[in-house]
Amino acid sequence: MIEIHDLSYKYPGSKVNALHDINVKLPPEHVFAILGHSGSGKTTLLNCIAQFLRPTIGKVTIDGQNIATIDKKTIHSIVGVVFQKLNLFPHLTVMKNMTLAPINALGIPEKQAQKSAMEMLEKLSIADLAQRYPLQISGGQAQRVAIARALMLQPRYMLLDEPTSALDSQTTSDFAEWLTELQEETCFIIVTHDLPFAQQVASHGIFLQDGVMKTEGNIQEIIDQQTASV
């Protein structure tokens, strides 16, 4: 279980806190949603959880262990990340994008890595894209490749930043569907401002506003509260 304790974050040179005194438990058995308007601090919170930013105050723990004390080399096989911008490697094929980390970071033999990458691609029904380059596939396909790439390390938790930003409504609901399937192996934390999508996939979540946690709990309640306040 990921727990966030009294967390505040201030960007260097900035006067105000981008995040202020966040306290929340992320139960592992559900898809968890971090909601909020643009600029509310969602990406900042995700970066604090993924160790890309060090909290100014407070800490993040995984199963009781402070995340800052976990070896930098292994942290990302516990917490996987897919960025808002995806950051696929443009000079490598989809297959190479997926096998680079397993081969080099985990030391898995190439053949075996390719085999499990192929299985992963089949599961996401994009197996035919294996030999294409990232610039030769669509935004929605790239999104799936980025998630597949992160899943290759079999992380227990997976952080997704705005995973539906490049998808139309049809692919979004397809995506919601297989996310529910994948959820058995990996626990997803999804940053999004797409409330209907959140409603579809997540059971719990928080709502951020100007760096402060406005509400926490059942996703339906949060959404009702939000629509009421508008």
């Binding site: 990302h76 990340v81 960025f83 950051n87 680079l100 080099n104 970071a105 610039l135 790439r149 992160a150």
Partner: protein, 479 residues
């Protein structure tokens, strides 16, 4: 892969080196004493020139060999540029200059001169047609009169005849061409050389007026080499008394001169061989420099890309060195390495050009690295890759692809820059061409051939740079 290439290449290069050092010829195989290293230009026929086999020959060469016999020492003849020939002596590149050097008080301050081994004088020559009606030096006011850069005639004319428009050129061959085309009105040169040239190359020039002054031609050695000076003087006196000197003199300037038209004697095959040999040296130097440059440019480019962080202590030193290299003439750097640091010509050439290409390529690599989205590094970290792995598999391949067209352009620039190393007496293609021209008197032909040789190498590289740039753009690495 690079290491392997490098090893293989080193062997090739050493092989080329051993081929090309034949311009320093060794006479007398006995190794009694260290051989005497003698410098001359090889471009001052009939005193020094390349014969039909491409070997150094001439009056000065014969004198050097004879002196070697009297001294019981091997003689190693080194071709050097006239501009820096004294500096080379002082820098211990050779032991004596037997290159028709006149005694002047100024030179005598820096070196000791032997007894004169011949006397000549400054003579004004004009075109046979004499369109400007010049019959003596006093009629040359406002006329274009040429002299070789760095020779005594230039200073003499400047001081004594300030109204003459003195044109200085790098070699007598160039002067002859200009006068033949009547683009200058005359030239002042050695009386013997001028007369010999007119006769042997069938040039339409005539001497006019009396000799401007007589000059004593002697052999300079370093001030501290007192013993060598004494030995040379003894040899010269013996050569004069036993008739050797006269024999050599007659061979070149006597009435029954047998070497009269050496000019047209260099055979086609020798010319081709010389050019090919020179071009191999040129390419070897370019290749070695590029290899050194590229290998050094990668860490430098990395350091330049990070003005903050772990490597920031190295940033300013590297930045300063690279700016200095890019902001100073390569020619000065070459001369500094050769004369200043006393490196051998080949080491100086490869070292200087290598470090120079490092400076340019480091900038190219830096901008390549800068063009890679920082998100790529983050993605690498998110995938648990180590810093080295991120650089090797993610950042570098992208940066390199972006940098390739500019790297190709650096290669082209460096290949052209090798032309400069002729100045520090590396026997590359331009120097070989100059040697050929000094006996064939066809500068336009041979300089054009050399230009084409360079172009054959650089043109495909330039085209390739263009094609790769387009490809890389298509692949979307660059916006």
């Amino acid at each position: 892969m690079f290491i392997m290439c490098y090893k293989k290449w080193t062997i090739y290069f050493l092989f080329f080196l051993s081929l090309t050092t034949s311009f320093t010829e060794k006479i007398y195989a006995q190794d009694r004493q260290p051989s005497m290293r003698v410098a001359l230009t090889g471009k001052y026929p009939p005193f020094s020139y390349y014969d039909k086999d491409g070997e150094l020959a001439g009056f000065d060469v014969d004198i050097s060999r004879e002196i070697g016999k009297y001294l019981n020492r091997d003689v190693e003849i080194i071709a050097a540029e006239w501009d820096g020939i004294l500096a080379g002596l002082l820098a211990n590149k050779y032991d004596a200059i037997i290159g028709s050097m006149a005694i002047t008080p100024e030179r005598a301050k820096a070196v000791n001169f032997s007894l004169p081994y011949y006397q000549s004088g400054a003579q004004l020559f004009v075109h046979r047609d004499n369109p400007s009606k010049i019959y003596g030096i006093n009629e040359c006011n406002d006329k274009k009169i040429a002299a070789v850069l760095g020779e005594t005639y230039q200073r003499y004319l400047d001081e004594k005849y300030p109204n003459i428009d003195v044109v200085t050129l790098k070699s007598s061959v160039e002067i002859f061409e200009l006068l033949e085309a009547k683009r200058i009105q005359g030239f002042v040169s050695d009386r013997l050389v001028g007369s010999w040239q007119i006769k042997s190359a069938d040039r339409p020039f005539v001497p006019v007026g009396p000799m401007l002054y007589a000059e004593d031609i002697a052999i300079p050695v370093r001030k501290q080499d007192k013993k060598l000076l004494e030995q040379i003087n003894n040899a010269l006196m013996q050569m004069r008394s036993d008739g050797t000197m006269q024999k050599i003199h007659d061979k070149y300037f006597g009435l029954s001169s047998k070497t009269a038209d050496i000019g047209s004697q260099m055979s086609q095959s020798v010319i081709i061989k010389k050019l090919a040999k020179g071009f191999i040296v040129t390419l070897s130097i370019a290749f070695a420099s590029l290899l050194i440059g590229f290998v050094l440019a990668i860490p430098c480019g990395l350091i330049l890309n990070q003005s903050t962080g772990k490597w920031k202590l190295l940033y300013w030193p590297v930045r300063t060195i690279i700016d200095f290299l890019r902001g100073t003439p390569v020619l000065i750097q070459l001369l500094f390495a050769w004369m200043g640091l006393g490196l051998s010509p080949y080491v100086a050439a490869i070292g200087t050009l290598g470090i120079n290409s490092m400076a340019y390529m480091a900038e190219v690599i830096r901008s390549g690295l800068m063009s890679v989205d920082p998100g790529q590094t983050r993605a690498g970290r998110a995938l648990n890759l180590s810093k080295v792995q991120i650089f090797r598999f993610v950042v570098w391949p992208q940066a390199f692809r972006v940098a390739i067209p500019s790297i190709m352009n650096s290669i082209v620039a460096l290949t052209k820059d090798t032309a400069l190393v002729a100045v520090i007496s590396v026997a590359e293609v331009i120097r070989e061409a100059q040697a050929i021209i000094s006996v064939t008197f066809e500068p336009s032909k041979y300089y054009f051939i050399v230009a084409v040789m360079f172009f054959v190498i650089t043109f495909p590289l330039m085209k390739m740079a263009g094609v790769l740039e387009k490809k890389i753009r298509q692949k979307g690495f660059v916006q």
